[in-house]
Amino acid sequence: MKRNRIFLGVLSGAVALGAASVFAHHSASMFDHAKTFTINGEVVELRWVNPHVSLSVKGAVKELPEDGTALWVMEMTSPGNLVRAGGWRRDAVKPGDQVEVLFSPLRDAERKGGALKKLTVAATGEVFTANIREQERPGLE
């Protein structure tokens, strides 16, 4: 628990700088959807909030071996859409879980962020995806 608090402190320090700024629904073209990277690591935090859920993972990206272990933040769609399109739950993962995440990285290679495509929980093999258009397939219910 203490370790997670430290990670949260690091995350807050990284992203909580500056004045309050409110945004909302945005395009996802700041991510390079032509690329798919894989990170294996430990869940630091799942932020189950609107309009975009985010997942922080500390681990190594297979395609970036020179980076070693680092903290990455993945963005997704809304909680409601994740439930319908990707089978997510608020407790799908918890801090400390070992996971594998497939993601499209930010085009800004200096920042460690991405758009999550697929998450696999190592302990259970459960898979969660994040493509909102998946809701459109017939017979989803």
């Binding site: 690091v10 995350l11 807050s12 990284a14 992203v15 909580a16 700088l17 500056g18 004045a19 309050a20 700024s21 409110v22 945004f23 909302a24 629904h25 945005h26 395009s27 996802a28 073209s29 700041m30 991510f31 390079d32 932020r47 909030v49 609107n50 309009p51 975009h52 985010s54 680092a70 903290l71 990455w72 933040v73 963005e75 769609t77 809304s78 909680p79 409601g80 859409n81 439930v83 319908r84 930010l106 085009r107 200096e110 920042r111 460690k112 962020g113 991405g114 909102i132 258009r133 809701q135 459109e136 989803l140 219910e141």
Partner: protein, 275 residues
Amino acid sequence: MPFRFLVTFLLASGLTAPAHAQAQPKKAAIINPPPTAQDYAELGKLPDWSGVWNPNISDQDRQALTNPPPWNEKVAKEAEKMRAEEKAGRPKLIFYGCFPEAHPAWMLVTHNAMEILFTPGRVTMLGESDGNRLRRIYTDGRSHPDVPDPTFHGHSIGRWEGSTLVVDTVHIVPQAPLAISEAIGVPNDGDMHVSERIYLADKDVLHVDLEITAPKILTAPWKTTRIFFRQRARKYDIVEGVCQTGDYREALDENGHHTFVPIQRTEWGNILAPK
């Protein structure tokens, strides 16, 4: 008598009020009558629009390419620039500030579900993901107000033509964007008028036919249709969404109370990821 005391005396005595103002009868307030049992029974004759309605986003994408709005020359150039910027990974943040997507952009480009409620004299649309997505469509026969009070969703009046709800909306704030995606859209700049025909095109498919007049940015009325599909699983019920929570994180204040503190985002709206 000093002048200010004279003024006070005249005001208090009503001697300064014009004669016609004193004679004018007080206008009776328009009362919304309490619904009757018959009013509620009549709702049962309307089509079944219950459940959760999701936008067909793939169709939105197609529509953006095959049936774009008739932008005027100036706005067409702006839209083209936005398209290029999005392609380059610098998408314009149209829906900034956690303001509502507003009408008609909500219908046109939303990525989130909605539900539709019928009550006597009114149809209400409630959107997921933002607590401020709410359309009140009055079906009690009223007219639009004479004096505009512009809002994000405008003033909507509707009537049923068989199983089709016909809606007319005016008085939308000029800042509300007319959007064809989350990165391409411009403020309507005023005088926008939206007509809709909303109906079940199939058992679980809702169509919204829109005709949008926006003289400040379009050269002609724009007709387009958006598609929503229904889900009924309880696990997909609409949940509360507060847009601002995405811009804050949970924390404890100096007294140990639970609170929210802001996080930082990029100009395009995504979280400013660590280096």
